[in-house]
């Protein structure tokens, strides 16, 4: 094994191999949720705690990430021997050594099975798993958890238990634990929330945190110190910190920065807010885009690629129409940059992240951009530098969904973010003229 675990990860590993039932692990950005999950699966199998383990992710890219981690932990031969990836064939990464199969006999012959939630239906209902690890549960609803749980029901255990226990189970999570299901549910409710879930309803992860034991990973291997502190205070994690080896990581340019971009790409500043007043436009059934911001992002991106060609760049936005607009401009440039929505950005990282805010209107309506989860994802993808592009004044004085009955949604998160960056952790700069048209 070449990957080393930090004390948080080791503690969680030791806890979960010895405890049964359903439990949760909260993992803020870059804290190694997938790594912990993969190690846990390997430890269970190698030390005989379980005969087989199911690793479930919500998306194919997250399932591939599991497969990649396992290949690193076990090596190509070991992962090929022990693991299988199943589900939707075109979604599996063919470069990984782990074989793909939906053949039930082949799947039964393997110890670690990797699949997405939606593809579990391709597995026979008769297959059973002694242990399971469910990733990105923050983005799932409780009903999504039941598909993997159903594959962990221990009928024998139920009958044995029924002899001894009183008739008790207050909710689905308790019922699952009593049915012999052993599952570690991993996620971060402050980074994601299922699409379309009502304000008063809980995500799968929130259900687990409410009804079962849980632990938290606090050491991030992605965010440098200033960003980790910002994210910690913004999302109120209560102690998120940078791993010592990356705490002082900063953006470094290989070539001289154009004078128009000196303030924006200042290597000493980890977080920069480029104050820009482009107009928002409606697009699609419920989305928004902002042409001025889109062009500004492209120009910053072009300059970054010129001064630091080896750095990876992601442009993140809350809105699909803005992603489409930026992608359209980007295709004319010979620049490799990922453009992601906050939902798509979950689980990804880049050296430099440009976050396009989009919303800017006279009514000061921030809309869906005001959610804790979306803002948190957008500001926590970057390994070296975060550049926010959009109206500072709009975010500082914007109106969020304070009509919600849920107290956690009453906070004005855009305002909180704007204040934290301006006063403590970053710098707000006026957009140079080259970015304003």
């Amino acid at each position: 094994m070449t990957v080393k675990l930090n004390p948080d990860q080791s503690r969680i590993l030791n806890w979960r191999v010895k405890s049964g039932g359903v439990a949760g692990v909260i993992g803020p950005a870059g804290c190694g949720k997938t790594t912990t999950g993969s190690f846990l699966a390997v430890k269970m199998i190698c030390e005989g705690y379980a005969k087989n383990v199911l690793l479930v992710a919500f998306t194919n890219s997250a399932a591939n990430e599991f497969a990649r981690e396992l290949s690193m932990v076990l090596g190509p031969e070991g992962s090929k021997f022990l693991c299988v990836r199943c589900g939707y064939a075109p979604g599996a990464d063919p470069r990984l050594p782990i074989p793909f199969s939906n053949n039930i006999e082949f799947v039964r012959s393997k110890k670690i099975v990797i699949c997405t939630t939606q593809s579990l239906k391709r597995l026979s209902a008769s297959i059973r798993f002694e242990n399971m690890i469910i990733d990105e549960a923050g983005i799932e609803r409780l009903e999504h958890l039941l598909s993997p749980f159903a594959l962990g029901i221990n009928q024998l255990g139920i009958h044995l238990m029924k002899e001894n226990i009183s008739y008790e189970a207050n909710n689905i999570i308790e019922l699952a634990s009593k049915c012999g299901i052993v599952a570690t549910v991993v996620g971060d409710p402050k980074q994601s929330r299922p699409i379309g879930l009502a304000d008063h309803d809980l995500s799968a992860m929130e259900w687990v945190l409410k009804c079962a034991k849980y632990d938290t990973l606090f050491t991030t291997h992605r965010l440098p110190d200033r960003l980790a502190m910002l994210v910690d205070e913004f999302a109120d994690y209560g102690g998120l910190n940078s791993a010592p080896e990356i705490a002082s990581r900063r953006f470094g340019a290989k070539y001289d920065i154009d004078e128009n971009f000196i303030d924006i790409l200042n290597p000493h500043e980890v977080i920069t807010w480029v104050n820009l007043n482009g107009n928002e436009m409606m697009g699609g059934p419920s989305s928004w885009y902002n042409e001025v911001e889109a062009k500004a992002c492209i120009r910053i991106c072009r300059e970054l690629k010129r001064v630091a060609p080896s750095k990876s760049i992601s442009i993140v936005t809350r809105y699909t129409e803005q992603r489409r607009t930026i992608s359209k401009y980007l295709q004319h440039l010979d620049v490799e940059t990922r453009v992601l929505t906050t939902t798509g950005a979950l689980g990804t990282q880049a050296d430099i992240v440009i976050f396009s805010l989009v919303r800017n209107n006279p009514e000061r309506l921030v809309g869906a951009l005001g959610s804790l989860q979306d803002l948190n994802v957008a500001i926590s993808r970057s390994k070296e530098k975060l550049i926010i592009v959009g109206s500072f004044e709009m975010m500082l004085n914007g109106l969020t969904g304070s009509y919600s009955s849920n107290p956690r949604h009453k906070q004005n998160f855009p305002q909180k973010l704007a204040r934290l960056i301006d006063k403590k952790y970053g710098m707000v700069v006026e957009a140079p003229r080259v970015l304003c048209n």
């Binding site: 064939a89 793909f100 199969s101 939906n102 053949n103 039930i104 006999e105 082949f106 939606q118 579990l120 239906k121 026979s124 209902a125 008769s126 609803r141 409780l142 009903e143 999504h144 039941l146 598909s147 749980f149 159903a150 029901i153 139920i158 238990m161 029924k162 008739y167 008790e168 189970a169 207050n170 909710n171 689905i172 019922l175 699952a176 009593k178 049915c179 379309g196 309803d201 409606m282 697009g283 699609g284 059934p285 419920s286 699909t320 129409e321 992603r323 489409r324 992608s327 359209k328 295709q331």
Partner: protein, 470 residues
């Protein structure tokens, strides 16, 4: 009207419909409800039925038929020929290339997924195909003249009546008449539920809607039949007409159930599943017992609380299912309000649909289209319905296929179809028409209900005292 008010109009329609019920009932679901309303509830909302069976053979035969109908079968439709065996042999011979290609593609796909394939898969497919052709030559070709055109695998959506279905084949006649075929890969004489008949009648209503814009207009309807491995079944005209009322009643019932309304279930005097003790009967009895205990006030409080949680989750999933039909409802609402051309213009402006594409080329499942400008309001991975605009037909009943967006570059868009067969079919009947790409969604909700059913049963096992379970 300026650009912004057009966009606001569409967005308001979306906002309104998001809060409304946008459920559609599939013909197959109506058929289940016609057999027994409890059986429908077993599917929705209970999620108690899902078979582990692999329909590889049946799906392959469907694929073959969908390509051969407008090829060798239509070309050899000679009603004046007396020797059916000769016709059958000729069709089978001329379709061998299609049959072999589809089998090869299916086996390739199965191999890629390492799926189990029976040793005699090819023989089974060929036998069933031959059986269907014999039935058609003997009964159908003799009885009905050669159609002028055949369309296969046509999805028709009738928003007004909350009805959707996929018709295996539509036979069009130059007189304006039409016939409808449904194929089954098994022998219909061995089935007892009669579900197939109800599905056929439900689909016939959709065909009426496609050709006459009114499901009750039978003026163009020539015939509907099921071609199966043992022959052809023609329901009597009286049966069809009488069946329509039952279809409508059960469609309404199914729609109300999907919408979460309390509906009284009418159990038939004889249920072909429960009264025969077939697969699913245990599940049905389980929910009947639950209802009885609840009615008698005997359910333990914890179990009752738990079942409320299960039903809340079930209806959340059903709401998700309804949302997959949202775009179609918006299209219908906009057309009803503004007329087709104006509605399409507004919807195009906001990027719900786009027009003006022409087919460039295809490779395997991938198809490339291009248009004059590079303003393509779609993104990779988005699901679209490719509609071929037909004159005089309502937009949502025109020929269509579903695909996902692979890549967009300048004025070109690459779409990935479900299969190579779908591409071949679309090349025959869709790509020569004016193309519209309409945003669509995949419905992946059905499989999410089954685990809830499993946990519901577990909760009963654990929380209901043994003496009540008897």
């Amino acid at each position: 009207m300026n650009i912004n008010s057009d966009i606001i109009d569409v967005r308001r329609t979306y906002d309104y419909l998001r809060k409304a019920q946008t459920h559609l009932v599939q013909s197959s679901e109506i058929a289940t409800a016609c057999v027994c309303q409890n059986l429908f509830k077993l599917d929705y909302p209970f999620g108690a039925t899902r078979s582990d069976k692999d329909y590889l053979v049946a799906n392959t035969v469907h694929d073959i038929m969908s390509l051969c109908m407008s090829g060798p079968i239509l070309e050899n439709w000679h009603s004046e020929l007396e020797n059916c065996e000769q016709i059958t042999k000729k069709i089978v011979k001329e379709s061998s290339e299609i049959v072999n290609t589809v089998i090869k593609d299916t086996l390739e796909g199965a191999h890629q997924e390492n799926r189990f394939v029976e040793d005699d898969f090819e023989t089974q497919v060929n036998d069933i195909y031959n059986g269907l052709i014999i039935g058609m030559a003997k009964r159908l070709m003799k009885k009905y003249e050669r159609p002028s055109r055949v369309l296969t695998e046509v999805t028709i959506t009738n928003i007004k009546d909350h009805h959707e279905g996929r018709i295996d084949a539509l036979l069009e006649y130059s007189s304006g008449g039409y016939g409808l075929l449904d194929w089954k890969s098994y022998d219909l004489s061995n089935t007892i539920s009669g579900r197939e008949k109800w599905q056929l009648i439900a689909n016939t209503l959709l065909a009426n809607f496609r050709y006459c814009r009114n499901e009750d207009d039978w003026t163009g309807h020539n015939f509907s039949c099921i071609v199966h491995n043992g022959g052809v079944y023609f329901p009597k005209i009286e049966t069809t007409r009488k069946g329509v009322e039952r279809i409508k009643t059960n469609r309404k019932f199914a729609h109300m159930v999907l919408c979460g309304e309390r509906v009284h279930v009418q159990r038939p005097k004889f249920c072909p599943v429960c009264d025969k003790g077939l697969e699913g009967s245990k599940e049905c009895l389980f929910y009947q017992r639950d209802a009885r205990l609840a009615h008698e006030g005997k359910l333990p409080a914890q179990y009752e609380k738990m079942t409320k949680q299960f039903f809340a989750k079930r209806y959340a999933i059903l709401k998700e299912r309804a949302e997959t039909h949202l775009h179609k409802h918006v299209v219908y609402a906009m057309i009803s309000k503004h007329g087709e051309e104006e509605a399409l213009r507004r919807l195009e402006k906001i990027g719900i649909l786009c027009r003006g594409y022409s087919f460039d080329f295809d490779i395997d499942e991938k198809v490339m289209f291009s248009r004059a400008d590079d303003n393509i309001p779609l993104e990779p991975r988005r699901i679209v319905r490719i509609i071929g605009m037909e004159i005089g037909k309502s937009l949502l009943s025109c020929i269509n296929e579903q695909a996902s967006v692979m890549e967009i570059r300048d004025n070109k868009i690459t779409l990935s179809f479900r299969s190579k067969t779908a591409v071949r079919r679309a090349k025959r009947q869709l790509f020569h028409l004016p193309i519209i790409l309409l945003r669509d969604e995949l419905n992946l909700t059905r499989s999410m209900l089954r685990p809830i059913h499993q946990f519901h049963k577990l909760a009963a096992d654990m929380l209901i005292p043994g003496e009540l379970l008897v």
